[in-house]
Symmetry: D2
Subunit: 346 residues, 4 copies
């Protein structure tokens, strides 16, 4: 594991401590090299009594069956060339290999550093792209916002039921989504009892949401609906974990109803162990610590709108859980090895 | 004060304990009659050592300069006929006198019980309807969601800058918005670390939001834009106080920009001590315990949408604070008597 | 499982959903009979899609390998006579079978209803009473406060290192310790941002703490130190889960030091997979969702006091986790089957 | 105001914005010099639209009626010599002028930098040392832990009712007590849902607690009881504000009862507007945002112990509120000018 000191890395360690087939043999964290993992995360000390974080060294990860990268934006594309041929598979939890080079450049304001490697990565939302993942060498495992928004809207977009333009996603994230980096806005005393929005109009995950939906539309729709265009507004709410996505769309076909769409969602996600379609509004708490996503949908006949909601754990299905799920697929293991679907409630 | 045992009542008591011109002489709470107020709210014991809650009795409130009603839906229309002629003014914090009789019947599914009294109540958002309030005998002081949504959208709607149809309001409320009633969903262990949505498609405050915006549009716009039609989705987030409203609209005119709309908002709210237009996204925490609302606005040129945000304290500007502000106007006192604009941060 | 609708019951369901050898075949909850478990706890719906809560019926549980009772005080002693001979083992998470009849009567103010059954129950803290548990038919699994206090103080008391009199335990509990019952004090809006104490001087768990420590002392100490006498003060803090116990004692022997006591604790808990002795102060968060307890100890040479600290998850090691651990012992399964030692951090 | 960027400084600004006789004319914050105060604290922008934080310059504060210092430990003694003769009064919220030079050196591990100034500062807990404060030029306003512990124990110590040795104080602090400095332990994602202890055995505020109690004992007691010796264990709990102190003592006289001690406390604090003696256990929430402290006391006849409890807002009565109270006394203003006694509940 490369980048074990962040929250996604810590959650990966937690999940892998109970995984039947995977074992953490090496963990790196440049800024904390030399520290036992239990010093950074007291929760992990008992399960990893002897694991000391190392500085990254491509030699040390060579030969691993799977390498998880949980690094800040830009780091994965820097080190990937040095390890891709020397390990079984890479599951990248960062943003570096999720977008085509041109889309990446548009949203990140810089050319991609290793565009030749992009084709070896699948976009890792297994419920939408399982075949691509199983066929791929590596996976770029998307984060919490794109996963939540894509799971909420995919059944609508896939079959051209809604207009691609005019989609809006108002998403609420727990504070752990800001990571372990130090900033006043992440302090308990500032974030508690507060709700705010950020990244207005130009949050980078907008690109991933649009890309995921466009891929879904391309796979399933025969003819040209307008391409997905999303106004994405992320919010911070005083929970540690959880993403809640509230999405609005305009119907592109007649006759949609709440009942028909709930049926459609259930068929769309049939066989998906980690997506549950609910009649009621979902709760992030029901997904906490698990790899499950809860979704529902409504048609508002009064205003002529479709409302799609999704809840998941930003560190679970939105990060480490999905990464393990992707690793399971890459390695031919049961999709749910080491993963649970019961959230911590209360 | 009638209905002192709920959270809006408690916040009124807190505010009035420091009001220069108003003094609580009588407080009722039927289910807690006989209890000293400090037993219900230990915070209030020191300020009201001798105040014992009484059962409601119209005789006991007769002659008061102003009576605040903070009652469950339906109660105000039941008792109003018995007190309206016998007190100086009534400020009703409930929903009973905010809507015309027909709109009320549509959203509440029942005929109004005292429609003949509706005309004596002004709709109490002072920043939008100050003249009406000052001219009125009584005020129906709107609650947190309509106040937040109306303050966010009013400058757009007032001058026909956005389409009336297709408005969406995704609002996040602290748990105190659910009141002091006992339910599993209000328990700390259930609400903490959770985000959910509720009242999907048909929350009753939708009617008030549409009504407030329609009144604003009528006052200012010459010609016919489509009447405001709002898809309102309330959410619960694990904060005690605070409402954050994220509103989407489609421009009805050309050439809008973020800069021009921020200017427009600043002019619109010029002289309003309790609405502050910010360049940045607002924080509910900055308004906590105060009577201030913070708003901002954006134009997204990429998707052709307008985004308007508002934050306020649901018990302050969204309930008790606004009620005091309305009482001040009714009584000819300074608008900010007893009210602050500094939130509790941290 | 009898009493599945409370928080301990829900946590049991969560743990058992991943247990390799136990499967929930029947769950009762009188007040919610007929409800699918996922309606009470949305987190459990995916794992138990077909489980409907039943009213309690001794016939329905007859023949089970193990029955977990998670009932309000007094209920277990009422139903135990009807099921004890008809099931493999009972693990009672309630207070009914933890104390000798006379001690029970003193703290609960009523005679015990089934004193003849008390001998068939072992006091279920495996790290202190493993032999008794393995030899017993049934287990009375103690709750969060006694488990935390006993694990913190046992190594001191066991070998007569501290005076039995003059022990104090100041414990802080997350709000889930109050259970799912409805009361204003359990509401998010009241419990958030609050710290308080309760049960001053006479909390019933005092009796269990003293009993557990007396049993520990009796097992290990040759001669008569004063019997354990504890002033126990529970507090509520705004966390969902977690118990933190801060215990004070006076040395009964000379020459104690922090280093020597840490060594002593490590030897005392050697081989205990679920008690970890830390050099630093423990964090409840490090234990959240797990079955682990973290303890440490200090000697204050300035004031001549010993300070012992313990942290655990009140629903994990303090309730459902310990119950599963006890069931594992009764059934001859690996002690840690279905149990983890990594807390949810963040 | 010198040191306006920390939480105590921000709370001072909040309180002073509503003070009838004091006005903030200058505010410094070296690391944020040049920033409008509303950028650091959006809550303050509306009240101080034109206030820009300055670098500290003794010239700029010269002539002020009162200067509040809210600086990190060590800073006050460095700048005090340059301003003490040039301003009316100084109220120091830091630790620099609270202890005699020798006690200071023992707890802070360094010689005091300006011992000649110590005599001009009174120890600023008005309820215990009002005469000294009114007679003093300046005040060293103690912080949250010493204020809470001293108010809880003073009535016992003052009249020799308890032994000086063997006192213990287990205190729980909200996270704002850690200040605005950036550290992982202060992050929302780490502090939420966590309880821990810190500063075991040697927290520096122990010296202030012992000093305050010794001063109280000296003022009131004729003969020699053992000097106060305190084992102080601070804890962090996931609230923003609030200190809860749970104190244990051994009676030094016979015949104490809960009733007699409650009477004694009420007489001791008679006339104190900001200390309320309760029959029940106090709640920090009842004091939030106010300058009030709530205390109660119990005698445990079973174990022969006295239990004293106090709750207050660490930024209110434990910092900025008490500083304003002290300034009022120094300036001959009403003690409660600008201060409230009603906490924010909910």
């Amino acid at each position: 594991m490369v980048g074990a000191s962040g929250y996604a890395g810590a959650e990966l360690m937690r999940l892998l401590s109970g995984h039947p087939a995977l074992r953490v043999v090496h963990a790196t964290a440049d800024s904390n090299a030399g520290a036992p993992v239990g010093r950074l995360y007291p929760s992990l000390g008992a399960a990893y009594p002897d694991l000391v974080l190392a500085a990254f060294d491509p030699e040390a990860v060579a030969g691993a069956d799977v390498v998880f990268l949980a690094l800040p934006h830009g780091e994965s594309q820097r080190i990937a060339p040095g390890i891709l041929g020397r390990v079984g598979h890479v599951v990248d939890l960062g943003a570096d290999f999720r977008l085509p080079a041109d889309t990446y450049a548009r949203w990140y304001g810089a050319e991609h550093g290793a565009p030749e490697l992009l084709d070896s990565f699948a976009f890792g939302i297994p419920e939408l792209f399982a075949a691509e993942i199983e066929a791929a060498e590596h996976v770029a495992s998307p984060g919490c916002y794109p996963t939540a928004a894509a799971l909420a809207l995919a059944p609508l977009v896939a079959d051209g039921m809604v207009e691609g333009s005019g989609l809006t996603v108002d998403a609420m994230s727990g504070i752990s989504g800001r990571g372990r980096g130090l900033s006043a806005a992440s302090l308990f005393s500032e974030a508690a009892d507060d709700v705010t929005a950020y990244g207005l109009l130009d949050h980078r995950h907008t690109g991933e949401i649009e890309f995921a939906l466009a891929q879904v539309a391309r796979k399933r729709t025969a003819t040209g609906v307008s391409p997905p265009e999303v106004l994405f507004t992320p919010h911070l709410v005083p929970a540690v974990r959880g993403i809640f996505a509230t999405c609005h769309a305009r119907p592109a076909v007649d006759g949609l109803s709440t009942a028909s769409l709930l049926d459609h969602y259930r068929r769309f996600y049939e066989g998906c162990r980690f997506v549950e379609v609910l009649d009621e509004a979902p709760h992030t708490k029901a997904t906490s610590g698990s790899n499950v996503a809860h979704v529902t949908v409504r048609v508002d006949e009064r205003t002529g709108r479709v409302l799609a909601l999704a809840a998941l754990d930003n560190l679970g299905k939105g990060a480490a859980g999905q990464a393990v799920q992707n690793a399971n697929l890459l390695l031919g293991l049961p999709e749910d090895a080491g993963l649970g679907s019961v959230g911590l409630w209360p």
